[in-house]
């Protein structure tokens, strides 16, 4: 008998299962690392998990960032600027 997969709809986390959603972006968040206080609020608030930590600094993955601007809104140091995509 064949082995049954999951009986309930289950999704295993994979990066980019919907394609490169960064292409949806109209406004792009740009981090000014001179102002960044490395509090990682942007990492915490990003609803897409598109911000990761590298050597203590937040780094945005523009392949999947949809440009919602929540990181810029929540940044206590006002270190993230929303820039219109070219």
């Amino acid at each position: 008998m064949k082995e049954l997969r999951y009986i309930a709809p289950v999704a295993l986390p994979t990066t980019g299962s919907l394609g490169k959603t960064g292409a949806w972006r109209v406004m792009k968040p740009v981090i000014n690392y001179d102002k960044c206080i490395k509090c990682m609020f942007c990492w915490l608030y990003c609803p897409e998990g598109s911000i990761s930590e590298e050597e203590g600094c937040p780094v945005i993955d523009y392949d999947y960032c949809k440009g919602c601007g929540i990181c810029a809104e929540e940044c206590p140091a006002k270190a993230i600027e929303m820039v219109r995509e070219a």
Partner: protein, 397 residues
């Protein structure tokens, strides 16, 4: 533990306690509330080790129970009527996510006009949701069925939520002697809940209940239907096994009462079936060949059993404590669908007892005698007939 005098609702609480539920969430609504009050009392006294989560609505109660079941808890909730409908979205979610939750539904008529008394409209609204639907007739059966329900729900070939229904006040608030089983025997009958493949686990993260495109939605609905088919057998086995452990069983999907050699079979569900059985007894005394079939499982529906039962029957009288407006009684529709193209006895449908109006033995006896008259050509009957509709409520003098 022996015999205790319990209402149907307290029997349900004892059933959940004996099943060792470890998660409860519910919102108060008449006539359900005493179940959760009693469970809260058990938790407070340390007699039941369970997390009891108070919520602001039934929608949240079902959501909480879904979350708990998804991480492996044995979860319980209960509600009635408007509360059930407030959680309706989450009800479908529980079945779609294949979570073995058990819910008590104390049936109550829907508003408006407001009513707190029984009919089966609320319970039957779950018909197509993927829940297994069992209906009990008295306090003893409520306790026993709650315990059975976990064994059915958690069976690996089933993995579906189970709703256990019983009638407002007639069953829920009437105290009866109930044989409360010993915990050790229940533990032997109902083992601890096992883990299952789609149980959420932080060590192996995935999301449950996500989006499915047209390419793979249908398969999950097919799986629910297949699980329902398995549930037919499991419900029968679980009930038979219950008999071996506790000396009680209920016929699995349906209870047959004096149906052998019957030429008229009455189909009923819930507490009033007891009155129906009294009517059958009275008529049997007078020589009538009449029996009663009490529907215990609405889903999965006992199609084969009803066909077998009606093989040599002249007439079936379905007394529905519900109405599907624009069609007729819901149980009658199901019985007709089961019998169509098989062997067709005459099927009569009575709508009675809505909003808690009594269905007593005298009424059932009168209805059966009317069917006898119809069979012998002395009377006529509509395909669907309401009984007891009062002109004085409808019209001015």
């Amino acid at each position: 533990m022996g015999i205790k005098v319990l209402t149907g609702n307290w029997a349900a609480a004892y059933g959940a306690k004996l099943a060792r539920v470890n998660f409860i969430s519910a919102y108060p609504i008449t006539p359900q509330t005493p179940i959760i009050e009693k469970l809260a009392d058990f938790v407070d006294k340390g007699e039941l080790k369970a997390k009891l989560v108070r919520v602001e609505s039934e929608h949240s109660a079902m959501a909480a129970v879904i979350g708990a079941a998804a991480v492996g808890a044995r979860a319980f909730t209960a509600t009635s009527a408007q509360g059930l409908f407030y959680m309706y979205e989450m009800i479908w979610w529980a079945a779609g996510a294949r979570l073995p939750i058990v819910m008590g539904i104390v049936t109550r008529a829907l508003a408006p006009p407001w009513s707190i008394w029984t009919d089966h409209a609320d319970f039957l609204a779950l018909r197509d949701s993927g829940w297994i639907l069992l209906f009990a007739k008295n306090a003893q059966e409520i306790l026993d069925t709650i315990i059975q329900a976990y064994k059915i729900a958690e069976n690996e070939d089933v993995m579906l939520p189970v709703a256990v229904g019983w009638d407002a006040f007639i069953a829920s608030h009437t105290a009866e002697p109930v044989d409360v089983p010993d915990q050790e025997v229940v533990d032997a009958y109902l083992p601890e809940k096992r883990s299952f493949s789609h149980m959420l686990d932080v060590e192996n993260p995935f999301s449950l209940g996500n989006l499915a495109f047209p390419d793979n939605y249908m398969e999950y609905r097919w799986l629910i239907d297949a699980a329902m088919a398995s549930a037919r057998k499991v419900i029968m086995e679980v009930d038979r096994e219950y008999d071996r452990f506790f000396g009680r069983s209920y016929g699995g999907l349906l209870e047959k009462y004096r149906c052998e050699d019957a030429n008229i079979v009455v189909v009923m569900m819930g507490a009033a079936s007891g009155d129906g059985m009294d009517a059958v007894d009275a008529l049997r005394e007078k020589g009538y060949r009449v029996g009663l079939c009490r529907i215990r499982a609405v889903r999965p529906f006992p199609v084969d059993e009803i066909r077998e039962l009606c093989r040599n029957v002249d007439a079936v009288l379905v007394i529905d404590r519900d109405i599907s407006f624009g069609l007729g009684g819901i149980l009658a529709s199901e019985v007709k669908a089961a019998l169509y193209d098989f062997k067709k006895p005459s099927i009569f449908n009575i709508i009675a007892g809505l909003g808690g109006r009594d269905i007593d033995a005298e009424l059932v006896e009168k209805l059966i005698l009317k069917v006898c008259d119809v069979l012998e050509g002395r009377a006529e009957m509509e395909e669907v007939e309401w009984v007891g509709v009062k002109p004085e409520v409808l019209y001015y003098e």
